[in-house]
Subunit: 336 residues, 2 copies
């Protein structure tokens, strides 16, 4: 208890966000993961943390090397019926349409404005990139952060009728807090846009901007009226997905994680990079198995497609979380 108190006190002094850690410690002195059922998944996480933090033990890992990486969509928050960032892009097309009367007759914008998802899907990657660029570029980084923040304040999930930032997984918040309380640095490593996540990741996950890794577009430095800005250009800079995840991790962190959490084939290489390098490592796949409380999907799903990585989990002894079986609650609001 004394150590925990010091950790929290010192974290505050050092500027580390401890809100989740604190609530976790206050509510569950003896159980670091109170929203998890006592199944093998929970046991695997607790065992791993115990082994790498046991001073003098054979599997001890120095605090500086305790890096844990988390996918975002489908691992920390809901990614159905579509990625939140895609919902954002579609809403932005509608908001910007009055400035672009030509969109009424131009694909893929016509499809977006008419809510014709089938035609939009048929426009393929090229169409989607067009939608992303027109909604994500053409403003400064500060302006974009405000657009994201404003949108999240009013947007609601179509099924749960709540802000997207409330549709985060309570058991995963507990894992984040538990790892941080044990000296880990927690990072997001997402295929989503890094500047779409940073405005709210610290408040929602306790993960500061400098520990958020994601896809990005290019920016241009310029001084406008004596004020330096970064202007967002309609050009892809980096796609932080699949084999891009270990590359992004290496570029941004420069160390190999010892724990990684994902939920789809997009996370396969991150899990390989993390776990197949010797030493005690933790690889976790969140398997969406609960159609009643959330969604059930894997090999057939477009968003969060989980196929090769599910097979690889069995081979590589990654922990597969069965949401229906392993989680007492899905969302923080269920606890109230």
């Amino acid at each position: 208890m004394k150590n925990k108190f010091l950790t929290v006190l010192a974290s505050a002094m050092l500027g580390v966000t401890v809100s989740f850690g604190w609530s976790f410690q206050a509510s569950a002195q003896n159980d670091p993961l109170p929203s998890w059922n006592d199944t093998s998944a929970k046991q695997a996480i607790v065992d791993f943390v115990g082994r790498v933090t046991k001073a003098g033990g054979p599997d001890f890992v120095a605090p500086a090397e305790r890096i844990a990486t988390f996918d975002n969509d489908g691992t920390l928050w809901v990614e159905q019926p579509m990625y939140v960032q895609m919902a954002f892009a579609l809403d932005r097309v509608k908001a910007l349409a009055p400035l672009h009367p030509e969109w009424k007759d131009t694909q893929p914008f016509k499809a977006v404005l008419e809510g014709d998802m089938k035609t939009l899907a048929e426009s393929g990657e090229r169409g989607l990139v067009e939608v992303i660029m027109v909604t994500h570029a053409g403003m400064t980084t500060s302006e974009f952060a405000k657009i994201v923040t404003d949108w999240l304040a009013t947007a609601r999930d179509p099924r749960f009728k709540r802000p997207h930032t409330e549709l985060v997984y309570q058991p995963m918040l507990e894992v984040l807090a538990y790892l941080r309380a044990n000296g880990f640095k927690t990072f997001i490593v997402s295929g989503g846009g890094v500047e779409f996540m940073r405005p709210w990741a610290e408040r929602v996950y306790g993960i500061p901007p400098e520990q958020v890794i994601g896809s990005s577009i290019k920016t241009k430095f310029q001084i406008t009226d004596g004020s330096p800005v970064l202007f967002r250009l309609p050009e892809v800079n980096f796609i932080d997905d699949k084999a891009g995840k270990p590359i992004g991790i290496n570029e941004a962190i420069g160390r190999r994680p010892i724990a990684a959490f994902g939920n789809s084939d997009g996370d396969l290489q991150m899990l390989q990079w993390t776990t197949l390098s010797g030493g005690v490592r933790l690889g976790v796949i969140v398997h969406h198995t609960d159609a009643e409380r959330e969604y059930a999907y894997d090999r057939q799903s477009h968003f969060g497609h989980l196929d090769v990585a599910l097979d690889a989990a069995a081979v590589n002894k990654w922990t597969v979380v069965d949401m229906k079986k392993d989680w007492k609650v899905i969302f923080p609001f269920e606890k109230r």
Copy 2:
């Protein structure tokens, strides 16, 4: 004193390197910057830290926002008579020459092998990129880190006859420690290669790999004999210099620094990005004015060219450190 003890204790628990902070605190209870003379430069740094950390004060900055960025070459360590990384590349060409008999007759390698710096310089950027790629690509990231570490263990500065990692500026080590003791996160933002700095930056500067930003080449993820590696490709990924510095800072940190330290025109945009955004900010230029103890150079120098940024310092009220006048010692070994 109690707070400082807790900081150090907790830093250890949280995995933050505190070696410099500790030695600083043990040796200078009342003077956070003992190797600095009591001139206006030192005063500007101490005033800034006092203002942004004064709880309840008008200029208070929350710990999470206390980001300080440091150029490396010429700001934290010696960059004359050439960048250390260039000395590394030239040595590597010589080491690899037996495997490339054709280099004896091929420029720019012939020039390197003959020590003909004039011809090498005449080969221009294209020649230099060729030298960099052949010495920095074609191996895994782990292999490259070992090559750098091994080279640094034996390479000696031609003038001071010491390892390059001993030719770091003691007054700047004190600034790094002082800022960290005041809740800052310290980052390197260098035009040099990120993977050239990371193997030693934590030991020498107390800056962990995830807080080192630099130039990079592209990498490729692959699984070789069941083991995942990142293979370094001979293709530029990002140049973290000039306007690239604010871009690199935004990509890696996602917040604007409130303090930035540089020494050349390559740092101009980083200093603009940091200081020209309102609020109390600190911009520092290390001016090399001491030919006797180190080097004296600015507007005419090829390495560490300081011209536009020196003029901008006067306009923008950046602090210009006069090494000869402001620093009691230059290197750590002078203290012994």
